[in-house]
Amino acid sequence: MAEMPIIDPEKCNGCGLCVGVCHYHALAVVNKIITVIQTVECDWCTDCEAVCPTGAISCPFEIIIQETA
C-alpha cells in the first residue's frame, strides 16, 4: 500500500481546500469528512499540508541513509 498523507480528524474543519489542490484526486469529502484515497500517483508534493489552515494534514518524511559511494 502506498504511503499517504495523514489527516487528524480532530483538527480537520472539513473546509476542503486540500481536495482542490490535490493533483491526483487522492483526497475527497465523504459525508463532510476529508478522506484519503489510496493512489500510487500521490507524489508527496505536500501542497495539501501547506494549504491546510488548521494544520490537520501531515506528510511526514522518513529520513534514511543510502550512501552511493
Binding site: E3, C15, L17, V19, G20, V21, C22, H23, C42, D43, W44, T46, D47, E49, A50, V51, P53, G55, S58, C59, P60, F61, E62, I63, I64, I65, Q66, E67, T68, A69
Partner: protein, 223 residues
C-alpha cells in the same frame, strides 16, 4: 454566479462595514475563476486589480533567475492579494498561481481608490491588512537573509535519520520548520538546495541521505 454578500462580509477589508455600504461595493466587484495550475498574475506586469479569494487557494511566489520558486504566501478564502501594487501604482511584485480550482473576487484599481475615499472604515481595515502583511514579510526576510537555515535543516536530518541511533523520527516540513525556527516555505527551499548540492535525494515520502559527509559539512559551515 453573483457576488455573494456573505463572502464579502468574511473578507477583512470589509469587516464592520454596513450592509448598505457592502451592497454599493458589490456592484464594483467582478468574479474570476481559475483552474488548478493556472497563472493569475505575472510578476512585473502592471497591476490592474486587487483580488480576494472567495473559494480555493492560490500561491504567491517569486521566481529566481535560475528558475527557482520561492513561495511567499498561500492565500486562502477571505484573504487578499495584489493590494500592494494597486495602492503604490507599481508592477505586480510577485506571480500568483491557482493551487486548485479557485473563485476570485476582484476590484479594479480605479474603483478601489473611490471606495477608500468614500468608506473610512474600509481604509482602516486595509491598513490593518497591509500591516499584517508587512509583519509576515519581515519575518520571511529575516529567515532568508540573516539565518543560515540550510545548516540547521542539515542538522535536523542527521539527528533524525533512521539507523545507527535507533529508529528515526518521521518529520513533516512543518515540524522541521518549527525545529529550525523558520517558515515552512524556507524549509522546502532548503531541502531543494540540499538535493542540488548532492547531499540528499527526495524520493516521494523519503529523504535519502546520499552523502552524509557533505551534509555534515553543510551543517558545520560557519554562518
Amino acid at each position: 454566479m453573483a457576488v455573494q454578500l456573505e463572502v464579502l462580509k468574511s473578507i477583512p477589508y470589509f469587516f464592520n462595514v454596513s450592509l448598505a455600504e457592502l451592497e454599493s461595493i458589490r456592484k464594483l466587484v467582478f468574479e474570476k475563476a481559475a483552474d488548478r495550475g493556472q497563472m493569475i498574475l505575472f510578476e512585473g506586469e502592471p497591476a490592474q486589480s486587487v483580488y480576494f479569494v472567495a473559494s480555493g487557494a492560490v500561491k504567491v511566489f517569486k521566481t529566481s533567475a535560475e528558475g527557482k520558486e520561492q513561495i511567499l504566501n498561500i492565500i486562502r478564502p477571505g484573504e487578499s492579494f495584489n493590494d500592494v501594487p494597486v495602492f503604490d501604482g507599481g508592477a505586480n511584485p510577485a506571480s500568483v498561481r491557482a493551487m486548485g480550482p479557485v473563485l476570485l473576487y476582484g476590484i479594479r484599481k480605479s474603483d478601489m481608490g473611490a471606495i477608500l475615499r468614500d468608506h473610512p472604515q474600509i481604509t482602516l481595515n486595509v491598513i490593518k491588512v497591509l500591516a499584517r502583511r508587512v509583519r509576515h514579510l519581515v519575518s520571511l526576510v529575516e529567515d532568508l537573509s540573516f539565518k543560515r537555515v540550510i545548516g540547521r535543516v542539515a542538522r535536523i536530518l542527521l539527528e533524525h535519520v533512521d539507523g545507527e541511533m535507533g529508529p528515526g523520527t518521521r518529520l513533516t516540513q512543518q515540524e522541521m520548520a518549527a525545529m529550525a525556527g523558520t517558515a515552512r516555505e524556507v524549509v522546502g527551499r532548503s531541502l531543494k538546495a540540499l538535493e542540488e548540492e548532492g547531499a540528499i535525494k527526495l524520493d516521494r515520502h523519503r529523504i535519502i541521505i546520499t552523502d552524509k559527509e557533505a551534509l555534515r559539512k553543510i551543517m558545520e559551515a560557519p554562518p
